[in-house]
Protein backbone atom coordinates (compact mmCIF):
# COMPACT_ATOMS: atom_id res chain seq x y z
CA UNK A 1 0.00 0.00 0.00
CA UNK A 2 1.39 3.36 -1.00
CA UNK A 3 1.31 6.02 1.71
CA UNK A 4 3.66 8.60 0.20
CA UNK A 5 2.34 10.21 -2.94
CA UNK A 6 4.40 11.81 -5.64
CA UNK A 7 2.75 15.16 -4.85
CA UNK A 8 3.75 14.86 -1.24
CA UNK A 9 7.37 14.27 -2.18
CA UNK A 10 7.22 17.31 -4.44
CA UNK A 11 5.75 19.45 -1.66
CA UNK A 12 8.32 18.39 0.92
CA UNK A 13 11.10 18.90 -1.62
CA UNK A 14 10.02 22.51 -2.07
CA UNK A 15 9.92 23.04 1.68
CA UNK A 16 13.38 21.53 2.03
CA UNK A 17 14.72 23.55 -0.94
CA UNK A 18 15.66 20.41 -2.84
CA UNK A 19 15.27 20.59 -6.60
CA UNK A 20 14.05 17.21 -7.83
CA UNK A 21 13.59 16.03 -11.42
CA UNK A 22 10.33 14.25 -12.35
CA UNK A 23 11.94 10.81 -12.41
CA UNK A 24 13.45 11.46 -8.98
CA UNK A 25 10.01 12.27 -7.59
CA UNK A 26 8.74 8.87 -8.72
CA UNK A 27 11.74 6.99 -7.41
CA UNK A 28 11.75 8.79 -4.02
CA UNK A 29 8.02 8.28 -3.54
CA UNK A 30 8.63 4.55 -3.83
CA UNK A 31 11.68 4.55 -1.59
CA UNK A 32 10.06 6.66 1.10
CA UNK A 33 7.12 4.30 1.02
CA UNK A 34 9.38 1.40 1.87
CA UNK A 35 10.90 3.35 4.76
CA UNK A 36 7.52 4.43 6.13
CA UNK A 37 6.20 0.88 5.88
CA UNK A 38 9.21 -0.47 7.73
CA UNK A 39 8.68 2.01 10.55
CA UNK A 40 4.97 1.28 10.60
CA UNK A 41 5.78 -2.30 11.62
CA UNK A 42 6.95 -0.92 14.94
CA UNK A 43 3.42 0.27 15.67
CA UNK A 44 2.16 -3.23 15.07
CA UNK A 45 4.30 -4.73 17.81
CA UNK A 46 3.84 -1.83 20.23
CA UNK A 47 1.29 -2.74 22.89
CA UNK A 48 -0.84 -0.09 24.63
CA UNK A 49 1.43 -0.15 27.69
CA UNK A 50 4.33 1.19 25.61
CA UNK A 51 4.02 4.97 25.60
CA UNK A 52 4.89 6.93 22.49
CA UNK A 53 8.29 8.56 22.81
CA UNK A 54 10.55 10.77 20.78
CA UNK A 55 13.62 9.86 22.81
CA UNK A 56 14.99 6.38 23.40
CA UNK A 57 17.22 7.53 26.29
CA UNK A 58 15.86 7.14 29.83
CA UNK A 59 17.03 10.66 30.65
CA UNK A 60 15.37 13.97 31.41
CA UNK A 61 16.59 17.36 32.66
CA UNK A 62 20.10 17.36 31.29
CA UNK A 63 21.04 20.92 32.12
CA UNK A 64 24.15 23.04 32.06
CA UNK A 65 25.06 25.77 34.57
CA UNK A 66 24.71 29.32 33.33
CA UNK A 67 28.46 29.93 33.17
CA UNK A 68 30.11 31.43 30.07
CA UNK A 69 32.92 29.72 28.20
CA UNK A 70 35.30 31.57 25.87
CA UNK A 71 33.68 32.06 22.46
CA UNK A 72 35.20 31.03 19.15
CA UNK A 73 37.77 33.55 17.94
CA UNK A 74 36.08 35.76 15.37
CA UNK A 75 38.66 34.76 12.71
CA UNK A 76 37.63 31.11 13.16
CA UNK A 77 33.98 32.07 13.00
CA UNK A 78 34.39 33.94 9.75
CA UNK A 79 36.69 31.28 8.28
CA UNK A 80 33.51 29.32 7.58
CA UNK A 81 31.82 32.24 5.83
CA UNK A 82 31.73 32.28 2.02
CA UNK A 83 32.31 36.02 2.30
CA UNK A 84 32.45 38.47 5.15
CA UNK A 85 32.48 42.20 5.80
CA UNK A 86 32.92 44.19 9.03
CA UNK A 87 33.14 40.98 11.06
CA UNK A 88 29.84 39.74 9.70
CA UNK A 89 28.76 37.03 7.27
CA UNK A 90 27.92 38.37 3.87
CA UNK A 91 24.99 36.53 2.32
CA UNK A 92 23.00 36.98 -0.89
CA UNK A 93 20.04 39.26 -1.09
CA UNK A 94 16.89 37.80 0.42
CA UNK A 95 13.86 37.87 -1.85
CA UNK A 96 10.17 37.68 -1.30
CA UNK A 97 9.91 39.72 1.82
CA UNK A 98 10.11 43.36 2.59
Amino acid sequence: MSTISRDEVARVAVLARIDLRPEELDRLAGELDVIVDAIAQVSEVATPDVPATSHPLPLTNVFRDDVPVPPLPVEDVLAAAPASEDGRFSVPQILGEE
Binding site: S54, L59, F63, V67, P68, R88
Partner: protein
Protein backbone atom coordinates in the same frame (compact mmCIF):
# COMPACT_ATOMS: atom_id res chain seq x y z
CA UNK B 1 5.88 52.68 1.23
CA UNK B 2 4.43 53.60 -2.18
CA UNK B 3 1.27 51.58 -1.53
CA UNK B 4 0.36 53.54 1.57
CA UNK B 5 -1.57 56.27 -0.16
CA UNK B 6 -4.10 53.94 -1.76
CA UNK B 7 -5.27 52.27 1.45
CA UNK B 8 -8.84 53.05 2.51
CA UNK B 9 -9.42 53.49 6.20
CA UNK B 10 -12.65 53.73 8.17
CA UNK B 11 -12.72 56.18 11.05
CA UNK B 12 -11.83 54.16 14.16
CA UNK B 13 -14.92 55.04 16.20
CA UNK B 14 -17.11 54.22 13.24
CA UNK B 15 -15.28 50.92 12.68
CA UNK B 16 -15.76 49.69 16.25
CA UNK B 17 -19.43 50.66 16.15
CA UNK B 18 -19.95 48.21 13.31
CA UNK B 19 -17.37 45.51 14.00
CA UNK B 20 -16.15 43.62 17.03
CA UNK B 21 -12.33 43.47 17.15
CA UNK B 22 -10.61 40.32 18.41
CA UNK B 23 -6.91 40.50 19.22
CA UNK B 24 -4.26 37.91 19.93
CA UNK B 25 -0.77 38.81 21.09
CA UNK B 26 2.50 36.94 20.95
CA UNK B 27 5.21 38.41 23.11
CA UNK B 28 8.83 37.33 22.92
CA UNK B 29 11.04 38.15 25.86
CA UNK B 30 14.81 37.70 25.84
CA UNK B 31 15.89 36.16 29.12
CA UNK B 32 18.64 37.84 31.08
CA UNK B 33 20.78 34.73 31.50
CA UNK B 34 24.56 35.03 31.31
CA UNK B 35 24.79 32.48 28.50
CA UNK B 36 22.74 31.31 25.55
CA UNK B 37 19.91 28.78 25.57
CA UNK B 38 21.81 25.81 24.18
CA UNK B 39 25.48 26.77 24.51
CA UNK B 40 27.69 28.65 26.93
CA UNK B 41 28.47 31.63 24.69
CA UNK B 42 28.25 34.75 26.81
CA UNK B 43 25.32 37.06 26.19
CA UNK B 44 26.07 40.74 26.42
CA UNK B 45 24.36 43.61 24.68
CA UNK B 46 26.42 45.58 22.21
CA UNK B 47 29.33 43.20 21.61
CA UNK B 48 31.35 43.34 18.40
CA UNK B 49 29.72 41.21 15.66
CA UNK B 50 30.21 37.45 15.92
CA UNK B 51 32.28 37.63 19.10
CA UNK B 52 29.67 35.78 21.20
CA UNK B 53 29.30 32.58 19.27
CA UNK B 54 30.24 28.93 19.63
CA UNK B 55 29.90 26.01 17.19
CA UNK B 56 26.37 25.51 18.56
CA UNK B 57 25.27 29.10 17.87
CA UNK B 58 26.65 28.73 14.36
CA UNK B 59 25.03 25.37 13.77
CA UNK B 60 28.32 23.82 12.76
CA UNK B 61 28.16 20.10 11.87
CA UNK B 62 28.41 17.88 14.92
CA UNK B 63 27.73 20.63 17.44
CA UNK B 64 25.45 19.43 20.22
CA UNK B 65 23.14 21.67 22.23
CA UNK B 66 22.84 21.50 26.03
CA UNK B 67 19.97 23.25 27.80
CA UNK B 68 20.73 26.20 30.09
CA UNK B 69 19.13 25.24 33.43
CA UNK B 70 18.79 28.87 34.46
CA UNK B 71 16.72 29.60 31.35
CA UNK B 72 14.35 26.76 32.27
CA UNK B 73 14.04 28.20 35.76
CA UNK B 74 13.23 31.65 34.33
CA UNK B 75 10.66 30.15 31.96
CA UNK B 76 8.98 28.41 34.91
CA UNK B 77 9.01 31.68 36.86
CA UNK B 78 7.27 33.43 33.98
CA UNK B 79 4.77 30.60 33.66
CA UNK B 80 3.93 30.73 37.36
CA UNK B 81 3.61 34.52 37.34
CA UNK B 82 1.11 34.15 34.49
CA UNK B 83 -0.93 31.66 36.51
CA UNK B 84 -0.03 28.83 34.14
CA UNK B 85 0.20 25.10 34.65
CA UNK B 86 3.80 23.93 34.45
CA UNK B 87 4.19 20.84 32.29
CA UNK B 88 5.19 17.65 34.10
CA UNK B 89 7.21 16.87 31.01
CA UNK B 90 7.87 18.83 27.85
CA UNK B 91 10.27 18.71 24.94
CA UNK B 92 11.94 20.83 22.33
CA UNK B 93 11.14 20.70 18.63
CA UNK B 94 12.77 21.84 15.44
CA UNK B 95 11.00 24.54 13.49
CA UNK B 96 12.47 24.24 10.01
CA UNK B 97 12.85 27.23 7.75
CA UNK B 98 15.53 28.81 5.64
CA UNK B 99 16.71 32.26 6.45
CA UNK B 100 20.27 33.45 6.88
CA UNK B 101 19.78 34.59 10.49
CA UNK B 102 18.99 30.96 11.45
CA UNK B 103 22.30 29.21 10.84
CA UNK B 104 21.05 25.68 11.55
CA UNK B 105 18.13 26.06 9.10
CA UNK B 106 15.84 25.40 12.03
CA UNK B 107 14.98 27.20 15.21
CA UNK B 108 14.98 25.09 18.34
CA UNK B 109 11.62 25.81 19.91
CA UNK B 110 8.76 24.01 21.60
CA UNK B 111 5.72 22.93 19.65
CA UNK B 112 3.23 20.42 20.99
CA UNK B 113 4.60 20.40 24.53
CA UNK B 114 5.23 23.90 25.88
CA UNK B 115 6.66 24.27 29.38
CA UNK B 116 3.73 26.39 30.58
CA UNK B 117 0.08 26.55 29.51
CA UNK B 118 -3.46 27.56 30.48
CA UNK B 119 -2.82 30.72 32.43
CA UNK B 120 -4.18 34.24 32.63
CA UNK B 121 -3.06 37.75 33.38
CA UNK B 122 -5.18 40.45 34.96
CA UNK B 123 -4.41 43.74 33.31
CA UNK B 124 -5.35 47.10 34.77
CA UNK B 125 -6.62 49.67 32.29
CA UNK B 126 -6.23 53.41 32.74
CA UNK B 127 -9.57 53.89 34.46
CA UNK B 128 -8.80 51.08 36.89
CA UNK B 129 -10.89 48.41 35.16
CA UNK B 130 -9.32 44.95 35.44
CA UNK B 131 -9.33 43.03 32.16
CA UNK B 132 -8.44 39.35 32.20
CA UNK B 133 -6.32 38.07 29.32
CA UNK B 134 -6.22 34.28 28.94
CA UNK B 135 -2.81 32.83 28.22
CA UNK B 136 -2.71 29.80 25.98
CA UNK B 137 0.94 28.91 26.45
CA UNK B 138 4.45 30.09 27.20
CA UNK B 139 7.26 28.18 25.57
CA UNK B 140 11.04 28.23 25.39
CA UNK B 141 12.98 28.89 22.24
CA UNK B 142 16.05 30.68 20.92
CA UNK B 143 16.52 34.02 19.23
CA UNK B 144 17.83 34.40 15.67
CA UNK B 145 20.87 36.36 14.49
CA UNK B 146 20.66 39.88 13.19
CA UNK B 147 20.56 40.72 9.49
CA UNK B 148 21.65 44.09 8.20
CA UNK B 149 20.64 44.76 4.65
CA UNK B 150 23.02 46.80 2.59
CA UNK B 151 23.33 48.02 -0.94
CA UNK B 152 19.71 49.02 -1.59
CA UNK B 153 18.45 52.55 -1.76
CA UNK B 154 16.14 52.18 1.23
CA UNK B 155 18.20 49.81 3.33
CA UNK B 156 15.26 47.40 3.35
CA UNK B 157 15.56 43.99 1.77
CA UNK B 158 14.03 45.02 -1.54
CA UNK B 159 16.81 46.43 -3.64
CA UNK B 160 19.45 45.22 -1.25
CA UNK B 161 22.36 43.57 -2.98
CA UNK B 162 23.39 41.52 0.02
CA UNK B 163 22.94 41.16 3.75
CA UNK B 164 25.40 41.05 6.62
CA UNK B 165 24.71 38.66 9.47
CA UNK B 166 25.81 38.84 13.08
CA UNK B 167 25.12 35.67 15.10
CA UNK B 168 25.69 37.14 18.57
CA UNK B 169 21.95 37.15 19.14
CA UNK B 170 21.46 33.67 17.67
CA UNK B 171 20.67 31.33 20.54
CA UNK B 172 19.76 33.88 23.20
CA UNK B 173 17.01 32.28 25.31
CA UNK B 174 13.51 33.49 24.55
CA UNK B 175 10.18 32.79 26.12
CA UNK B 176 7.24 33.28 23.80
CA UNK B 177 3.91 33.98 25.46
CA UNK B 178 0.78 33.42 23.41
CA UNK B 179 -2.67 34.64 24.40
CA UNK B 180 -5.95 33.03 23.54
CA UNK B 181 -8.13 35.24 21.34
CA UNK B 182 -8.88 38.31 23.41
CA UNK B 183 -12.58 39.07 23.04
CA UNK B 184 -14.85 41.54 24.77
CA UNK B 185 -12.46 44.47 24.63
CA UNK B 186 -14.55 46.24 21.97
CA UNK B 187 -13.42 49.79 21.32
CA UNK B 188 -10.80 49.41 24.04
CA UNK B 189 -8.89 46.72 22.13
CA UNK B 190 -5.90 49.02 21.47
CA UNK B 191 -5.71 49.99 25.14
CA UNK B 192 -6.03 46.37 26.27
CA UNK B 193 -3.24 45.32 23.90
CA UNK B 194 -0.96 48.01 25.17
CA UNK B 195 -1.76 47.45 28.84
CA UNK B 196 -1.22 43.71 28.45
CA UNK B 197 2.29 44.11 27.04
CA UNK B 198 3.10 46.81 29.57
CA UNK B 199 1.97 44.56 32.43
CA UNK B 200 4.09 41.73 31.06
CA UNK B 201 7.09 44.06 30.88
CA UNK B 202 6.58 45.04 34.53
CA UNK B 203 6.35 41.37 35.50
CA UNK B 204 9.56 40.44 33.66
CA UNK B 205 11.32 43.16 35.61
CA UNK B 206 9.76 42.24 38.92
CA UNK B 207 10.80 38.61 38.36
CA UNK B 208 14.28 39.76 37.35
CA UNK B 209 14.28 37.40 34.38
CA UNK B 210 15.01 40.07 31.77
CA UNK B 211 16.03 43.68 31.53
CA UNK B 212 12.90 43.92 29.43
CA UNK B 213 13.99 47.02 27.54
CA UNK B 214 11.68 47.56 24.60
CA UNK B 215 14.11 49.85 22.80
CA UNK B 216 16.73 47.10 22.79
CA UNK B 217 14.30 44.53 21.49
CA UNK B 218 14.32 42.55 24.75
CA UNK B 219 10.53 42.48 24.49
CA UNK B 220 8.87 42.19 21.08
CA UNK B 221 5.19 41.86 20.27
CA UNK B 222 3.32 40.41 17.30
CA UNK B 223 -0.26 41.57 17.20
CA UNK B 224 -3.01 39.49 15.60
CA UNK B 225 -6.24 41.22 14.77
CA UNK B 226 -9.51 40.23 13.19
CA UNK B 227 -12.95 41.79 12.97
CA UNK B 228 -16.35 40.17 13.14
CA UNK B 229 -19.82 41.60 12.72
CA UNK B 230 -20.97 40.97 16.29
CA UNK B 231 -19.56 39.35 19.42
CA UNK B 232 -21.69 36.30 18.54
CA UNK B 233 -20.26 35.91 15.03
CA UNK B 234 -17.49 33.39 14.32
CA UNK B 235 -13.94 34.77 14.35
CA UNK B 236 -12.92 36.64 11.20
CA UNK B 237 -9.72 36.24 9.21
CA UNK B 238 -6.79 37.68 11.08
CA UNK B 239 -3.63 39.47 10.14
CA UNK B 240 -0.44 39.29 12.16
CA UNK B 241 1.49 42.53 12.52
CA UNK B 242 5.09 41.66 13.36
CA UNK B 243 7.59 43.28 15.66
CA UNK B 244 5.64 46.12 17.13
CA UNK B 245 8.20 47.24 19.61
CA UNK B 246 6.91 50.14 21.66
CA UNK B 247 3.81 50.48 23.83
CA UNK B 248 2.56 53.39 21.79
CA UNK B 249 3.01 51.47 18.54
CA UNK B 250 1.08 48.48 19.86
CA UNK B 251 -1.90 50.72 20.51
CA UNK B 252 -1.59 52.44 17.16
CA UNK B 253 -1.03 49.23 15.18
CA UNK B 254 -4.28 47.79 16.57
CA UNK B 255 -6.18 50.98 15.73
CA UNK B 256 -4.74 51.01 12.25
CA UNK B 257 -5.63 47.40 11.50
CA UNK B 258 -9.17 47.91 12.82
CA UNK B 259 -9.63 50.88 10.47
CA UNK B 260 -8.03 49.11 7.52
CA UNK B 261 -9.86 45.80 7.88
CA UNK B 262 -13.18 47.60 8.41
CA UNK B 263 -12.65 49.36 5.08
CA UNK B 264 -11.92 46.04 3.33
CA UNK B 265 -15.04 44.42 4.84
CA UNK B 266 -17.22 47.48 4.11
CA UNK B 267 -16.45 47.12 0.43
CA UNK B 268 -17.51 43.49 0.54
CA UNK B 269 -13.90 42.31 0.35
CA UNK B 270 -12.16 39.67 2.40
CA UNK B 271 -9.26 40.19 4.73
CA UNK B 272 -6.21 38.27 3.55
CA UNK B 273 -4.51 36.13 6.16
CA UNK B 274 -1.03 37.53 6.04
CA UNK B 275 1.90 38.88 7.96
CA UNK B 276 2.03 42.66 8.02
CA UNK B 277 4.85 45.02 8.84
CA UNK B 278 4.47 47.97 11.17
CA UNK B 279 6.10 51.20 10.06
CA UNK B 280 6.99 53.31 13.05
CA UNK B 281 7.63 56.45 10.98
CA UNK B 282 4.31 56.55 9.15
CA UNK B 283 2.19 54.57 11.65
CA UNK B 284 0.78 52.21 9.05
CA UNK B 285 1.05 48.48 8.38
CA UNK B 286 1.88 47.06 4.96
CA UNK B 287 1.41 43.58 3.57
CA UNK B 288 4.20 41.07 3.96
CA UNK B 289 4.16 37.35 3.37
CA UNK B 290 0.85 35.65 2.67
CA UNK B 291 0.47 32.69 5.00
CA UNK B 292 0.64 29.66 2.77
CA UNK B 293 2.26 26.32 2.32
CA UNK B 294 5.61 27.92 2.98
CA UNK B 295 4.44 28.28 6.56
CA UNK B 296 4.69 24.52 7.02
CA UNK B 297 7.62 24.38 9.38
CA UNK B 298 7.80 20.57 9.44
CA UNK B 299 8.11 20.57 13.22
CA UNK B 300 9.51 17.43 14.76
CA UNK B 301 10.92 16.58 18.20
CA UNK B 302 14.51 17.73 18.66
CA UNK B 303 16.50 14.48 18.76
CA UNK B 304 19.58 16.11 20.32
CA UNK B 305 17.83 17.16 23.51
CA UNK B 306 16.13 15.03 26.13
CA UNK B 307 12.79 16.08 27.64
CA UNK B 308 12.52 18.69 30.37
CA UNK B 309 10.53 17.30 33.29
CA UNK B 310 10.49 19.84 36.12
CA UNK B 311 9.83 18.03 39.38
CA UNK B 312 6.91 19.34 41.40
CA UNK B 313 9.36 20.08 44.20
CA UNK B 314 11.41 22.29 41.94
CA UNK B 315 8.32 24.09 40.68
CA UNK B 316 7.16 24.73 44.24
CA UNK B 317 10.61 25.96 45.24
CA UNK B 318 10.53 28.42 42.37
CA UNK B 319 6.99 29.47 43.27
CA UNK B 320 8.18 30.24 46.79
CA UNK B 321 10.80 32.63 45.44
CA UNK B 322 8.38 34.63 43.31
CA UNK B 323 8.44 38.26 44.34
CA UNK B 324 5.28 40.17 44.95
CA UNK B 325 3.94 41.08 41.52
CA UNK B 326 3.05 44.66 40.60
CA UNK B 327 -0.74 44.38 40.85
CA UNK B 328 -0.58 42.49 44.17
CA UNK B 329 1.81 45.07 45.57
CA UNK B 330 -0.42 47.91 44.50
CA UNK B 331 -3.41 46.30 46.18
CA UNK B 332 -1.45 45.66 49.36
CA UNK B 333 -0.16 49.23 49.54
CA UNK B 334 -3.60 50.68 48.88
CA UNK B 335 -4.92 48.65 51.80
CA UNK B 336 -2.10 49.73 54.09
CA UNK B 337 -2.37 53.38 53.16
CA UNK B 338 -6.14 53.62 53.06
CA UNK B 339 -6.20 55.48 49.75
CA UNK B 340 -9.43 55.63 47.77
CA UNK B 341 -9.42 53.84 44.39
CA UNK B 342 -9.21 57.09 42.46
CA UNK B 343 -6.37 58.37 44.66
CA UNK B 344 -4.40 55.17 44.17
CA UNK B 345 -4.93 55.26 40.43
CA UNK B 346 -3.69 58.83 40.24
CA UNK B 347 -0.62 57.90 42.25
CA UNK B 348 0.18 54.98 39.94
CA UNK B 349 -0.44 56.98 36.79
CA UNK B 350 1.76 59.78 38.07
CA UNK B 351 4.58 57.27 38.61
CA UNK B 352 4.67 58.20 42.29
CA UNK B 353 4.05 54.79 43.85
CA UNK B 354 7.69 53.96 44.63
CA UNK B 355 8.32 57.50 45.83
CA UNK B 356 5.40 57.48 48.23
CA UNK B 357 6.30 54.02 49.49
CA UNK B 358 9.84 55.21 50.25
CA UNK B 359 8.53 58.39 51.87
CA UNK B 360 6.24 56.40 54.13
CA UNK B 361 9.13 54.04 54.93
CA UNK B 362 11.15 57.12 55.94
CA UNK B 363 8.53 57.99 58.52
CA UNK B 364 5.88 60.19 56.88
CA UNK B 365 2.20 59.33 57.12
CA UNK B 366 0.69 57.95 53.89
CA UNK B 367 -1.62 60.97 53.70
CA UNK B 368 1.22 63.46 54.06
CA UNK B 369 3.39 61.58 51.57
CA UNK B 370 0.57 61.63 49.03
CA UNK B 371 -0.12 65.31 49.68
CA UNK B 372 3.47 66.27 48.87
CA UNK B 373 4.07 64.02 45.87
CA UNK B 374 0.69 64.49 44.23
CA UNK B 375 0.47 68.21 45.09
CA UNK B 376 3.47 70.47 45.23
CA UNK B 377 5.91 68.02 43.63
CA UNK B 378 3.59 66.87 40.83
CA UNK B 379 3.02 70.53 39.95
CA UNK B 380 6.76 71.17 40.03
CA UNK B 381 7.40 68.16 37.76
CA UNK B 382 4.80 69.43 35.34
CA UNK B 383 6.01 73.00 35.15
CA UNK B 384 9.65 71.95 34.89
CA UNK B 385 8.78 69.22 32.35
CA UNK B 386 10.53 66.51 34.42
CA UNK B 387 9.52 62.97 35.33
CA UNK B 388 8.41 63.01 38.95
CA UNK B 389 11.05 60.39 39.81
CA UNK B 390 13.73 62.66 38.35
CA UNK B 391 12.99 65.65 40.58
CA UNK B 392 15.97 66.67 42.71
CA UNK B 393 14.38 65.70 46.00
CA UNK B 394 14.44 62.38 47.78
CA UNK B 395 11.65 60.58 49.64
CA UNK B 396 13.78 60.88 52.79
CA UNK B 397 13.88 64.67 52.38
CA UNK B 398 10.11 64.81 52.01
CA UNK B 399 9.71 62.72 55.15
CA UNK B 400 12.06 65.10 56.98
CA UNK B 401 10.13 68.12 55.71
CA UNK B 402 6.88 66.65 56.97
CA UNK B 403 8.49 65.86 60.33
CA UNK B 404 9.44 69.54 60.65
CA UNK B 405 5.80 70.49 60.04
CA UNK B 406 4.52 67.87 62.47
CA UNK B 407 6.83 69.09 65.22
CA UNK B 408 5.56 72.65 64.75
CA UNK B 409 8.97 74.05 63.84
CA UNK B 410 7.61 75.16 60.48
CA UNK B 411 4.09 75.63 59.18
CA UNK B 412 2.69 74.63 55.79
CA UNK B 413 3.53 77.95 54.24
CA UNK B 414 7.13 77.83 55.43
CA UNK B 415 7.35 74.19 54.37
CA UNK B 416 6.74 75.24 50.78
CA UNK B 417 9.61 77.72 51.04
CA UNK B 418 11.83 75.02 52.54
CA UNK B 419 10.94 72.74 49.64
CA UNK B 420 11.91 75.47 47.19
CA UNK B 421 15.28 75.57 48.88
CA UNK B 422 15.70 71.79 48.68
CA UNK B 423 14.76 71.81 45.00
CA UNK B 424 17.26 74.61 44.44
CA UNK B 425 19.96 72.34 45.81
CA UNK B 426 20.42 74.06 49.16
CA UNK B 427 20.55 70.77 51.05
CA UNK B 428 18.21 68.83 53.33
CA UNK B 429 15.10 70.53 54.72
CA UNK B 430 16.74 70.89 58.13
CA UNK B 431 19.69 72.71 56.56
CA UNK B 432 17.41 74.95 54.50
CA UNK B 433 15.39 75.92 57.58
CA UNK B 434 18.56 76.97 59.36
CA UNK B 435 20.23 78.65 56.39
CA UNK B 436 17.14 80.60 55.35
CA UNK B 437 16.01 81.24 58.95
CA UNK B 438 12.57 79.87 58.24
CA UNK B 439 11.68 78.52 61.65
CA UNK B 440 8.34 79.49 63.17
CA UNK B 441 8.91 82.29 65.68
CA UNK B 442 7.87 80.72 68.92
CA UNK B 443 9.75 83.15 71.12
CA UNK B 444 7.00 85.25 72.76
CA UNK B 445 9.42 88.15 73.30
CA UNK B 446 9.99 88.57 69.57
CA UNK B 447 6.28 88.20 68.89
CA UNK B 448 5.33 90.76 71.54
CA UNK B 449 7.67 93.27 70.02
CA UNK B 450 5.92 92.91 66.68
CA UNK B 451 2.50 92.98 68.35
CA UNK B 452 3.27 96.17 70.26
CA UNK B 453 4.42 97.82 67.07
CA UNK B 454 1.22 96.77 65.30
CA UNK B 455 -0.97 97.96 68.17
CA UNK B 456 0.79 101.30 68.30
CA UNK B 457 0.26 101.75 64.56
CA UNK B 458 -3.50 101.14 64.74
CA UNK B 459 -4.88 102.64 67.98
CA UNK B 460 -8.44 102.83 66.60
CA UNK B 461 -8.56 99.04 66.25
CA UNK B 462 -7.30 98.64 69.78
CA UNK B 463 -10.24 100.79 70.94
CA UNK B 464 -12.77 98.70 69.04
CA UNK B 465 -11.43 95.44 70.39
CA UNK B 466 -11.41 96.82 73.93
CA UNK B 467 -15.06 97.75 73.54
CA UNK B 468 -15.85 94.10 72.71
CA UNK B 469 -15.79 94.19 68.91
CA UNK B 470 -13.41 91.32 68.04
CA UNK B 471 -13.91 91.69 64.29
CA UNK B 472 -11.00 93.97 63.44
CA UNK B 473 -8.48 91.87 65.41
CA UNK B 474 -7.57 90.12 62.14
CA UNK B 475 -5.93 93.30 60.91
CA UNK B 476 -3.53 93.25 63.85
CA UNK B 477 -2.75 89.56 63.41
CA UNK B 478 -2.16 90.16 59.71
CA UNK B 479 0.25 92.97 60.46
CA UNK B 480 2.18 90.77 62.89
CA UNK B 481 2.37 87.90 60.40
CA UNK B 482 3.63 90.31 57.78
CA UNK B 483 6.25 91.71 60.12
CA UNK B 484 7.48 88.18 60.95
CA UNK B 485 7.45 87.10 57.29
CA UNK B 486 4.90 84.39 57.95
CA UNK B 487 7.08 82.70 60.51
CA UNK B 488 4.70 83.26 63.41
CA UNK B 489 2.09 80.81 64.62
CA UNK B 490 -1.11 82.74 63.94
CA UNK B 491 -2.95 81.07 66.84
CA UNK B 492 -0.34 82.13 69.33
CA UNK B 493 -0.31 85.66 67.93
CA UNK B 494 -4.05 85.93 68.45
CA UNK B 495 -3.72 84.80 72.07
CA UNK B 496 -0.98 87.31 72.74
CA UNK B 497 -2.85 90.18 71.06
CA UNK B 498 -5.92 89.55 73.22
CA UNK B 499 -3.77 89.32 76.33
CA UNK B 500 -2.03 92.59 75.42
CA UNK B 501 -5.19 94.54 74.71
CA UNK B 502 -7.20 92.92 77.47
Amino acid sequence: MSAHATVDLVDYDEAVRRYDPVIGIEVHVELGTKTKMFCAAEVEFGGEPNTQVTPVSLGLPGALPVVNGKAVEYAIKIGLALNCQIAESCRFARKNYFYPDVPKNFQTSQYDEPIAFDGYLDVELEDGTIFRVDIERAHMEEDAGKNTHVGGATGRIHGAEYSLVDYNRAGIPLVEIVTRPITGAGERAPEVARAYVQTLRDIFRALDVSEARMERGNVRADVNLSLRATPESPLGTRTETKNVNSFRSIERAVRYEVSRQAAVLDEGGTVIQETRHWHEDTSVTTAGRVKSDAEDYRYFPEPDLVPVAPSRDWVEQIRATLPELPVARRNRLQGEWGYADAEMRDVVNAGALDLIEATVAAGASPAAARKWWMGELARYAKTSDTEIAEIAVTPAQIAQLQALVDSGRINDKLARQVLEGVLAGEGDPEAVVVARGLEVVSDDGALLEAIDAALAAQPDIVEKVRSGNMGPIGAIIGAVMKATKGQADAGRVRELVIERIG
